[in-house]
Subunit: 210 residues, 2 copies
C-alpha cells in the first residue's frame, strides 16, 4: 500500500508496537508472535498482522516476527532511526519535567531549546539547556531548523504561541495545554491531557456517592 | 442504547466534547451546533450527533445544543459531577508536576495521596500533601477508599506497583511509565507517553537527513 494511504489510526499504533518490541528485546527475546504482541498490547493478533502487512512482509507464517528486524523497520517507517531536535515552550512544572525527562533520547528525540516568558526563568538552565526568552523563539527555531515543539503554556496563550510556532516552521506540536488548537493542514497536532484519560475511566467506575 | 453497550471509542470522545463545551462556555457562548463543535475538535458533525444520540436527546434539529445542559449531562455520564480522590505513585519530576497541577479540580479530580520509596522525599509536602512511604501505600489507599491512581514510577517498578495498587482496590490507573502493564479485567488503564505521540507525528514529517 502506498504509504500516504495508510489510515492514521494504523500509524498511531506503530509507536506502540515499537515500544513493546523494544521492551521485549531488552528482556532478551529475539522472536515474537503476533499473538504475544497482541496480548501485551490489548490488540488482536489479526489486527497487528493486518497493520504491519500494509508496510511490507515482516514475518513468516508460523515463525513469528524477528524482533530486531521489525524494530529496525518500524524505526525507519516512523523516521526515528535518527534524532529529532525538539523545543519545549513554557518551562513550568510540565515543561521542566519534559526538559529533564531521560526517556526521549533512545526513542528518537532530544530537547534542544527551551522558551519561557518569565524573566526570572530566562537565562537559567535545565539539563544543560538555557531557557531563552519567548521573544527569541522564532529566530532560534528557524536557526536550529526545529520542526517539533512541545507546548506547555497556559490555556490563554496556547493558540497565540501555536500560530507563532507554525510561522517559525514548526510542523508537529505536542500540546499539553488542555485546549484544542487550530493549525494549518500541513501541521500535525497531538494532545496530552491527563484529565481526559481520567474522565474516560471514571465512566466505568462506580461512584461511591451514587 | 443501554450504557454498557456504548463502544469504548465513543466513551473516549466524550471527555473531549466536555472539554470543548467548557471552553466555549468560558467564552460566553450558550449554544453550539454539532458543526461548530466538530470543527473545533476535528471530528465530523455527523459523528458527534451519532455519539451523543447514544445517550439521549440533547439537541433539537436546527437549534444546536444548549451548552450548559449538554455539559451537565456529560459530567453526569462521565461521573465527574463529583470529585474523585486520586493517588500519585512516584514523586519524581512527573509525579511532582501532577501533584502541583491546578487543572484537575474543575474537571472532577483531586490529588489526595502521594507515595514514593525515596527516604529523602518521604515526609516532605507538595501542594499541602505529605509524601508517604510506598510501604504505607496499601493501607493508606484502602483507608481513603481511593479508586484512581496515577503511576509515575520507573519502568522496572511499574508492574509490581500496579499489582499492589490493584490489590489495594484501585480500579483505574493512568500509567506514565512507558511500558504496558497487565491488570485484571475489572481494572481500567490509560497511558500517557509523549514519545508515542511524537513518533506518530514524525511519520508524517520530512526527515531533513533523507
Amino acid at each position: 500500500m502506498p504509504l500516504e494511504n495508510i489510515p492514521d489510526i494504523v500509524v498511531g499504533r506503530l509507536p506502540r508496537y515499537l515500544r513493546t518490541l523494544t521492551y521485549l528485546e531488552s528482556q532478551g527475546k529475539t522472536v515474537v508472535s503476533s499473538q504475544e504482541l497482541g496480548d501485551d498490547l490489548g490488540i488482536s493478533a489479526a489486527q497487528i498482522r493486518k497493520d504491519l502487512s500494509m508496510f511490507g512482509e515482516f514475518g513468516k507464517q508460523g515463525t513469528g516476527y524477528d524482533i530486531a528486524f521489525l524494530r529496525k523497520q518500524l524505526r525507519k517507517i516512523l523516521k526515528v532511526n535518527r534524532t529529532w531536535d525538539v523545543a519545549v515552550v513554557g518551562v513550568g512544572d510540565i515543561g521542566s519535567a519534559l526538559a529533564r525527562y531521560q526517556g526521549f533520547a533512545h526513542r528518537g528525540f532530544q530537547v534542544r531549546l527551551l522558551f519561557d516568558n518569565n524573566p526570572s526563568k530566562i537565562g537559567h538552565s535545565i539539563s544543560g539547556i538555557t531557557i531563552q526568552s519567548i521573544d527569541e523563539m522564532e529566530t532560534a527555531l528557524k536557526e536550529a531548523g526545529i520542526q517539533i515543539a512541545m507546548l506547555a503554556v497556559p490555556i490563554q496563550a496556547a493558540q497565540e504561541i501555536t500560530d507563532r510556532l507554525v510561522e517559525a516552521g514548526v510542523k508537529a506540536i505536542l500540546n499539553y495545554a488542555p485546549i484544542n488548537i487550530s493549525v494549518p493542514p500541513h501541521v500535525h497536532v497531538q494532545y496530552i491531557d491527563p484529565a481526559i484519560h481520567l474522565q474516560h475511566m471514571t465512566y466505568y467506575l462506580e461512584s461511591p456517592e451514587d
